[in-house]
Symmetry: C2
Subunit: 199 residues, 2 copies
């Protein structure tokens, strides 16, 4: 009885800890890695370490950044009266690509999900309070995912931060661009009808 | 307009080169990595480099090994009269787990697939010839995958290495253990019938 060499097994075990990588993919990636160009693998290893060491959450908004505060929080040309609340740092990139929001962001780090053990205190919710007190915020735009947890988190934030002079809004739910009615599920359609506007 | 920090983008690009990792998974893994325990990420990086540096193909059979020759090629108790030809080093582990083969192995590194640019000379096929000349081999067992390419490669090896005194066999195709007829596709069934044996 023989087995695979231990550095290979160690590698497979480590890779299987990454999100979305099961034991079979881990084995496939490890097989690729031990046969790849050694210089490319050293570069990958260095890139992982460099990214982990150089990138930190912005202490204000939670975005991934190399500087404190991040480029958006530190940009005085951005509209300081609006904060858009998102789940993950990458959501900021998606919104920035849409070129239609010029305010600042706040990253929660996820949504409230008691079934998955995520309680409000596990998210960057309390960090939002000092911002609402010190920044001239008049609108909090909730841009969370359209799931049960996303909705529950939006309602929680709304109850938590409601105060006179602060509008709390939610991005629209409806048909995605370029899609037809026949591809939309019933919940999307119900929400699209609910959110209809005068032409 | 802001963007993600460059170490993050570099990481996403590097990860997307790994097999089975698309741009979305790469982003998800990168997001996990930059927020994970820094010590765990250093350990992952070291494991990648260690595996790449310490593991090499066995110069005889092509299995992944830290020593030359590998544990199987160097084990004099193994039956030297049989060589089992497989596609990948991990296939050896699968066969060893079955505990029914006591001979040696030969790893091709893939199958012949002109459409994917894999020609016979890209595989460890020529390395098999000196083994057949110097080792007391009487049977070459082909254990390649049951695909068009696997079949074509088996036929190629058969033509290439046929000689008096050398049996060239192929592992059986048929119903997998624990499965019923109703789950088998027509090719599997045709092959299972074709390969029927006297009881």
């Amino acid at each position: 009885m023989s087995s695979l060499p231990s550095p290979f097994c160690d590698l497979t075990t480590e890779l299987a800890h990454l999100p979305g990588i099961g034991p079979r993919s881990a084995e496939r990636i490890a097989l690729y890695m031990v046969q790849a160009d050694p210089a490319a693998m050293r570069r990958l290893a260095e890139t992982i370490v460099a990214a982990r060491e150089r990138i930190h959450p912005c202490q204000t908004c939670g975005a991934l950044t190399e500087q404190q505060p991040c480029a958006i929080c530190g940009d005085s040309r951005r509209d300081a009266t609006r904060i858009c609340v998102v789940e993950q740092p990458v959501d900021i990139l998606a919104l920035e690509k849409a070129h239609s929001f010029t305010g600042r962001y706040h990253v929660l780090g996820g949504v409230i999900s008691p079934l998955n053990g995520v309680e409000p205190e596990d998210l960057r919710i309390e960090n939002l309070r000092p911002r609402l007190e010190t920044e001239p915020v008049t609108e909090l735009i909730l841009a969370l995912s359209t799931s049960v947890e996303g909705d529950a988190t939006s309602h929680y934030l709304c109850r938590r931060f409601a105060r006179p002079g602060l509008r709390i809004t939610r991005i629209a739910y409806g048909l995605p661009a370029g899609s037809g009615l026949e591809f939309a599920d019933e919940i999307t359609l119900a929400r699209a009808l609910e959110g209809r506007r005068e032409l």
